[in-house]
């Protein structure tokens, strides 16, 4: 019928919660990197809705009532030559929109089906007291950590069980938010993930689908900002693209208010983040009027925390994690790495694609952390390294200051090794991925290309942009996705057929849905359940519940595992969870920047111990205040400070609604936790 294959991009898209009905679109340029054709603009800014690529400004962050807008994920279908998409990067690719010609047919409809869920309450605990090792190790050898909510109650039904079964239908019903699938297209342009909207997959209505909203009744739950009666909605734009909106950042606890006693595991609590598969069917019409339905593949959508610093690139982003996993587990680029031979030492990475992002990310950290002056200057020099420079003559010569992931001892070594951030679970400090480090090694040897010989295609760039806007490296548990992204069994193995970075969804046979019974199960368990078992909700269920408490706590911490005699504090996720910011409103008339402030500040955040500063001391206070936190944007995008010209290349906090400014200003690193009193 056609000589094309179709893929949805981005392969994984990210919506983000907000408390407004309004929204903007997820960034489609790579955070921290220059944007081709737009001098002076740093990538990562979200996009104004209804536009192709017009970046938002600070005045787009909130609605007229001051509510934080949600971020929508936009998905598109791309066509590739049938014989030209089996390598990575495939390059090329043409977007398929309504009215476009595909072969001898016309695209008359694109039917999108999305099924998101939240399964955090029926997942496994992240924090086991006394254990500071790797999270994934607790799933090895058929084991799992304890389940959440083994002692809690929902409504009148006690769920206290001695040996909880994660697949027990009653347990699934009690702790899973599952609105079921929704479908949109030319005729039905919008569908909500709420109880009132009929479930639908493709063109098939599912009136008997058992929708689950265990925290959806405001009369039975503690719901300070509303019950969780929806996980958002989907809609299509005029060109047939899919727009996915997530929840409103609500957090609820069943049976009244329950103390938020943990940063990551709070029994009885729900939030309205979610994830699940996105599929598309192209409806093509030939000259004879006949309609043909063509499967356009599958992607995945995740709804996560707001992006409070969308342009600040993580030194290890989620992109780096997935790319590393695909390179080393799926032979994504045999010229770079094979499972048989390892890294190919004659491979020449692309400076702008593979090396420069690390340098740019390093240079941007000063906008969300208060580095000492000499370190700030050094980081800026890292960001200025270009493909024209002789590596041996740069500040990165010899990679003397880069933590080597191949040497396990280095994960416990702090400065001067970089990144100067806390490490993954079980590691004191953060290291680049193996593939990132290999690229740096090649660059250090002078073996690199100034320009990529095989540039990414437009759809592949969307994959990368979406994932680059997210946190990698430190999955304890993380912000957008977590440690399971390193598990090969969550991905479709035949990437050359379906495209890389695709989640291996469990086939969802909705015809088997039984009224009154939950459709979803306990779902994917890393190292246990095998391939093709990922259900809606399975990618986010390993995150904090609710997400708010984890976000709140992860400002600065001592290392874990601890380093002997060291009380120094380090940042958790500063590019994704800003810790120290410079406030746009405090820019002086001459352009001089103000002091560093905590991003999370004001009433309820003070504490004499620096280890506890920059966060609410009562975890419950983040629930009503998360949407008041400001957003760090490039100065040229800040248009909400009347009468002041913003330094265009500074990244400053705008639109904070938190009360007051702390005094004194935040001191630069190194800062120490208070020594324990004996």
């Amino acid at each position: 019928m056609t000589s094309s294959v179709f893929r949805i991009h981005p392969a994984i898209g990210f919506a983000r919660v907000g408390d407004s009905e309004e929204y903007y679109l997820a960034p489609e340029t790579m955070a921290g990197m220059p944007v081709p054709g737009k001098p002076g603009l740093t990538g990562g800014l979200p996009v104004k809705p209804g536009t192709e690529d017009e970046p938002i400004t600070a005045s787009d962050l909130r609605d007229a009532d001051g509510r934080l807008k949600r971020q929508a994920a936009r998905f598109r279908v791309f066509a590739y030559p049938a014989d030209g998409a089996a390598a990575y990067p495939a390059g090329g690719g043409t977007e398929v929109k309504l009215g476009d010609r595909v072969g001898d047919k016309t695209v008359v409809d694109i039917i999108w089906t999305v099924h998101v869920a939240n399964k955090k309450g029926n997942a496994y605990v992240l924090d086991v007291p006394g254990y500071d090792g790797s999270i994934i190790e607790r799933y090895a050898d058929g084991r799992t950590p304890p389940l959440r909510n083994v002692q809690s109650e929902v409504g009148q039904t006690s769920l206290t069980v001695q040996v909880p079964n994660v697949n027990d239908p009653e347990r699934v019903k009690a702790w899973t938010t599952d609105p079921g699938p929704r479908a949109v297209g030319r005729d039905l342009r919008k569908a909500a993930f709420d109880a009132a909207t009929e479930a639908r997959a493709g063109t098939t209505a599912l009136p008997g689908y058992t929708k689950l909203f265990p925290a959806g009744d405001p009369n039975t739950v503690y719901a300070p900002r509303g019950a969780i009666d929806t996980l958002g909605h989907i809609e299509t734009d005029d060109q047939g693209r899919l727009i996915v909106l997530g929840g409103y950042g609500r957090a609820c606890s069943v049976n009244g208010y329950q103390v938020l006693g943990s940063d990551v595991d709070n029994d009885g609590w729900f939030d309205d983040t979610s994830d699940g598969p996105v599929t598309a069917t192209l409806v093509l019409q030939g000259a004879d009027g006949a309609l043909v339905h063509v499967d356009a593949g599958q992607a995945w959508v995740v709804t996560a925390d707001p992006a409070y610093a969308p342009q600040i690139l993580n030194t290890v982003s989620l992109w780096d994690e997935l790319y590393d996993t695909f390179v080393r587990s799926f032979d994504l680029q045999p010229e770079l790495y094979t499972r048989q031979d390892g890294y190919k030492r004659d491979y020449a990475p692309s400076f702008p694609d593979h090396v420069e992002p690390v340098f740019k990310a390093a240079s941007l950290q000063e906008w969300t952390t208060n580095l000492p002056g000499m370190a700030r200057q050094a980081h800026r020099m890292v960001g200025e390294i270009s493909a024209k420079d002789d590596p041996a003559r740069t500040i990165m010569a010899g990679l003397a200051f880069v933590r080597d992931p191949n040497l396990p001892t280095q994960s416990n070594l702090g400065a001067p090794l970089m990144p100067l951030g806390l490490g993954d679970s079980g590691k004191a400090f953060l290291s680049p991925t193996y593939t990132q480090y290999f690229f740096l090694e090649q660059w250090d040897k002078g073996r690199f290309e100034a320009e990529p010989s095989r540039p990414l295609g437009a759809g592949e760039r969307l994959d990368r942009a979406a994932l680059s806007a997210c946190l990698g490296g430190r999955f304890s548990p993380g912000i957008d996705l977590t440690f399971t992204v390193r598990q090969p069994d969550v991905y479709q193995m035949d990437w050359w057929e379906v495209g890389p970075f695709r989640i291996a969804a469990r086939p969802l046979s909705y015809s088997r849905a039984v009224p009154g019974q939950p459709f979803l199960t306990g779902g994917y368990v890393p190292l246990n359940s095998g391939h093709d078992t990922v259900e809606p909700g399975d990618m986010t269920k390993f995150m904090s519940v609710p997400w708010h408490t984890d976000y709140n706590s992860c400002a600065t911490h001592p290392t874990s595992p601890s380093v002997r005699n060291i009380t120094t504090l380090y940042w958790s996720w500063p590019a994704q969870r800003p810790v120290h910011v410079r406030v746009a409103a405090e820019v002086q008339p001459d352009g001089e920047l103000g002091p560093y402030r905590y991003s999370v500040r004001g009433t309820g955040t003070g504490d004499p111990d620096p280890a506890n500063q920059g966060r609410y001391q009562d975890r419950g206070q983040i629930i009503p205040n998360w949407s008041s936190i400001g957003v760090v944007l490039q100065g040229s995008a800040i248009d909400t400070v009347p009468g002041k010209a913003m330094p265009p290349n500074a990244f400053l906090e705008a639109e904070s609604r938190l009360d007051g400014l702390p005094d004194p200003a935040v001191e630069p690193w190194p800062m120490n936790e208070l020594e324990p009193t004996v």
Partner: protein, 371 residues
């Protein structure tokens, strides 16, 4: 342990400000000399996670502080110190003469070498010699302004303290640099902020800090193992043994007597080789770095200084990775004339080294003396 020359003194000699400035310049020279020497050995170790690497790193970090502190002292007495190319030659350690120390510590720490090299027994012995403590006993060394070499760093600074006390009226709080305060939460007074006699306690505090952190000055009969760096001078940021002096750290390595794998390298790689190129880059950056130091400790704000400083680590590492021993200046055989022709500062003059004279003077040096 004791300065034989000092024991013969019967009264405290009178110092001139020029003599004190010479000593303070020498203090800066000596502190600075240790940094390339230690760093080179550190970066020769392949695994940064080894105890040796980490111990040397912590000492290097503190030697940088000592350079700052010594330079602050010099500026307080009206001298903006100059940073000449250090020379790593034979067994010559600037301003230290172990013939003056009794018993001679070389009996314990031999063989040793003051030439740039990998971390090995020779280098470690030299580390220990440099940081070897002065035992404070009944015969307190007296400062002799005419003496340019001492048996230990402790004796050197004891002499400086005598001159500094006599000349405290000269103290002025100028050109003070403070880059490390955040790394020492309890260390109050890394800079001189008071003039005249009021500034002398600050001067004395800095001298005490350098000695306590470095050699671990100890009372007679007290083992170095019992010495603990006072809390006031302990690193609070990135040192896992902040209460250990440099000497204790090195002695711990010395007693362990294990040597991690290091890079293989030659002193004179072939011209055009990667190693040779790495040496040239290091030399060039080091030269620029010296200019930056000169500027920074004379009230300037050299913009590229931090880049140069951080790049040095990579420059040194690249030498080792490419099979070359790091080099920080002209080969030892090059004369002063050649150095001048190349626009480099050569220190010390070859004839002084050849005669075994103390290299207290550098040439050419343009120390800036403020009124």
């Amino acid at each position: 342990m004791t300065n034989a020359g000092a024991a013969e003194q019967t009264s405290e000699p009178t110092w001139t400000i020029e003599q004190l400035r010479d000593h303070l310049q020498a203090a800066v020279d000596l502190e600075f000399w240790t940094i390339p020497f230690y760093m080179s050995a550190m970066y020769s170790i392949k695994d940064a996670g080894t105890a040796a690497y980490q111990a040397i790193l912590s000492v290097v970090n503190q030697e940088m502080l000592h350079v700052q502190l010594a330079a602050n002292l010099a500026n307080a007495y009206g001298l903006s110190p100059r940073f000449a190319q250090p020379v790593y030659y034979g067994q010559h350690i600037p301003h230290l003469d172990f013939d003056l120390d009794h018993p001679d510590p070389r009996a314990t720490f031999s063989p040793y070498s003051a030439e740039i090299g990998p971390y090995d027994q020779e280098r470690l012995n030299t580390f220990c010699l440099i940081e070897y403590p002065m035992w404070i006993g009944t015969e307190t060394p007296r400062g002799n302004p005419d003496v340019a070499t001492y048996g230990s760093i402790g004796e050197f600074y004891s002499a400086v303290a005598v001159g500094a006390a006599q000349l405290k009226d000269h103290i002025r709080p100028i050109n003070q640099v403070n880059h490390f305060a955040r790394f020492y939460n309890h260390f109050k007074g890394m800079t001189i902020t008071e003039a005249g006699a009021a500034g002398f306690p600050q001067v004395a505090n800095i001298v005490t800090a350098i000695c306590d952190q470095g050699e671990g000055r100890s009372d007679q009969g007290v083992s170095w193992t019992q010495h603990s760096v006072p809390k006031a001078y302990q690193n609070t940021a990135d040192d896992t043994d902040p209460n250990w002096s440099h000497f204790q750290k090195f002695m711990t390595l010395w007693n362990a007597d294990t040597y991690p794998e290091t890079y293989e390298a030659v002193t004179s790689p072939a011209a055009g080789s990667a190693g040779h190129k790495a040496q040239l880059i290091l030399e060039a950056n080091f030269d620029a770095f010296l200019d930056g130091l000169d500027a920074m400790f004379s009230g300037g704000d050299p913009k590229a200084f931090m880049t140069q400083m951080f790049a040095l680590g990579g420059n040194i590492l690249n030498c080792w990775k490419n099979g070359a021993v790091p080099r920080f200046g002209l080969p030892i055989g090059a004369g002063v004339g050649l150095a001048a022709a190349a626009g480099r500062r050569q220190y010390p003059p070859q004839d002084r080294i050849a005669r075994g004279l103390p290299p207290i003077r550098t040439a050419p040096r343009k120390a800036v003396v403020s009124a």
